[in-house]
């Protein structure tokens, strides 16, 4: 008999003995109680806007001082966890102090993107050089006034007003001052 056969036989016998022993062990009452239906799932963080995916708030050339380009966008939080939202821009915006951006928070019920409809401002998020707009999430502009948290289905409308800063310096504007293409990002992080 080979070693393997010997071991197999031993295991078989041991199993048989154990089975018989188990059968004979039913000699006591038992009772259980259970707490069912437990589950655990993560919450969600999700945010969206009404720009249709790729339409810019503004693409405007040949602007002069005193004439503003005004556009509005609505941002809605759809996550389940309370979050902080920050607004920041992509890097590389040019134009120095010649171009100004004002971002106001408010409410809006009419007007499809990027029209402002009945936008009513409630606070100012940013008013300064377009090129100086923060470009990182930590340094970003608060999505709500005083960095208030966002709950599910919270919507804030933003009005962007871009202007050419007036400058009477002779011959200082014989070439175009351009911002270059840039993006704005609203980033939600749960608190």
């Amino acid at each position: 008999m080979t070693t393997i056969r010997k071991i197999s036989l031993t295991v078989l016998i041991a199993g048989l003995v154990a089975g018989v022993a188990a059968f004979g062990a039913f000699s006591a009452f038992s009772a259980t109680t259970s707490n069912t239906g437990n589950s655990f799932a993560s919450g969600t963080v999700a945010i969206g806007d009404n720009d249709g995916g790729s339409t810019a708030l503004y693409t405007s050339a040949n602007n002069k001082p005193g004439t503003a380009v005004v556009s509005c966008i609505s941002v809605t939080y759809t996550g389940s966890l309370a979050s902080q939202v920050k607004l920041y821009a992509s890097t590389g915006i040019s134009g120095g102090t010649a171009l100004n951006l004002k971002v106001e928070r408010g409410t809006k019920t009419t007007g499809s993107f990027p029209a402002c409809g009945d936008f009513a401002a409630t606070s100012t998020a940013y008013d300064g050089a377009l090129a100086a707009f923060p470009t990182t999430q930590p340094a970003g502009v608060d999505g709500k006034d005083a960095a208030a948290t966002w709950a599910t289905n919270d919507t804030v409308a933003y009005r962007f007003t871009v202007t050419v800063v007036d400058d009477g310096t002779p011959n200082a504007h014989t070439t175009v001052t351009s911002s270059g293409s840039h993006d704005f990002t609203w980033e939600a992080r749960n608190t």
Partner: protein, 199 residues
């Protein structure tokens, strides 16, 4: 055993890497507005003088006159209004009170001559108040100084013209020394400025 050491090290590295990944304590999500751009327009006005003077009267006697023509071209992208004014040098000794200045706006019909000749100059057909094409007729002293707002609107009647890119006008400037003994021994130096401001 070197192989076992390497394996242990690899295992530690893996654990550390996983540990690093787990420092995210918050979810995040973003939404964006892309490809925004904004640019200014331009305001630019040039002339063909290459830095040379338009008018020169040296050791003049009463009745002496000098005439020069200059072409002013707008190259900005924004529509603009143009005003004319001057700067009289403080180094002058008062001859500007005895110099008559006449500025006429027009075009060159045919080939444009070299600066500052007026060959082929034709005044505007419109009378702005002092004859066809005339935008100023008075003493050099009275010519407005240093200020766009008090400058002569181009043209002075019928509303300011809206200058657009590529537009140019020729200005004929003529100075004449008055017959006045008080002008004797005096001199004056003048700069003429055309200023465009977007409208």
């Amino acid at each position: 055993m070197p192989r076992r050491s390497v394996l242990i090290l690899a295992a530690i590295a893996l654990v550390v890497a996983i540990g690093g990944g787990q420092t995210w304590a918050a979810y995040n999500a973003t939404t964006a507005s892309n490809a925004n751009s904004f640019a200014s327009g331009t305001v630019a006005l040039t002339d063909n003088d290459s830095g040379a003077a338009l008018l020169t009267l040296a050791t003049a006697v009463p009745g002496d006159t000098d005439t020069g023509c200059i072409t002013v071209t707008y190259t900005g992208s924004l529509a603009s209004a143009v005003h004319l004014y001057g700067t009289t040098s403080t180094a002058g000794t008062g001859l500007d009170a005895y110099l008559d200045l006449k500025i006429t706006r027009g075009t060159f019909t045919g080939a444009a001559p070299a600066f500052d000749a007026c060959t082929n100059f034709t005044p505007d057909a419109t009378n702005y108040g002092s004859g066809n094409g005339v935008v100023y007729d008075g003493t050099l002293l009275a010519y407005p100084d240093d200020d766009y707002l008090s400058g002569i609107v181009d043209p002075p009647a019928g509303g300011a013209e809206s200058w657009t890119s590529g537009e140019s006008h020729v200005y004929k400037l003529q100075v004449t020394l008055r017959d006045d003994i008080a002008a004797k021994g005096k001199n004056a130096t003048q700069t003429f400025t055309w200023e465009a401001r977007n409208t």
